[in-house]
Symmetry: C2
Subunit: 102 residues, 2 copies
């Protein structure tokens, strides 16, 4: 569990994986899809994922060069967990979600 | 997904649920089991979980009064997700985990 929490730490990490579960993405595509994320945070997160073997970064020698991010098999193996998270979220009623917390 | 991330935000939230998946717990038992958590954080988290319908808080009119926290069915329904997280974490090699990230 701790390893999961270490690698998928915080909402951005999970939302980036969710985006990449739909297929390879360029940096700008990720940035557009993840409303509110800064270029710095996205860069840092992708670099961490790359280092931890969750994402690959491929540079295509085109003009201009094209850089594509893609899930590795380890990253891909998060699919079921993220689907389960989404399904659980749907089982939470609006009333429960909006409950005031002091 | 966003609802999940909203309610299970951060490692402590997930680790508290993991602990309660093993059965009802008193505050002191939770605090002992969750190394490094402050009383303030634990109190705040439990209150949030209670408000969102994930945990119940039962006071037994004993001397001194006994307070027990327990997962609701909604909280209990997180079991499979947390097991999947733990299983995924075990599939991450030490080498991947320790990879340097600048």
């Amino acid at each position: 569990m701790e390893r999961f929490l270490l690698l998928l730490d915080g909402p951005w990490a999970t939302l980036i994986v969710r985006e990449l579960l739909q297929g390879p993405r360029r940096f700008s595509e990720l940035r557009d899809a993840l409303e509110g994320i800064s270029a710095h945070t996205l860069t840092h997160r992708l670099r961490r994922f790359e280092a931890h073997g969750i994402v690959t970064r491929t540079v295509y020698a085109e003009i201009p060069p094209r850089v594509v991010y893609e899930l590795t098999p380890l990253g891909e193996s998060l699919r079921d967990i993220l689907y389960a998270m989404a399904a659980w979220g749907q089982s939470v009623t609006n009333q429960q979600l909006m409950a005031a917390t002091d």
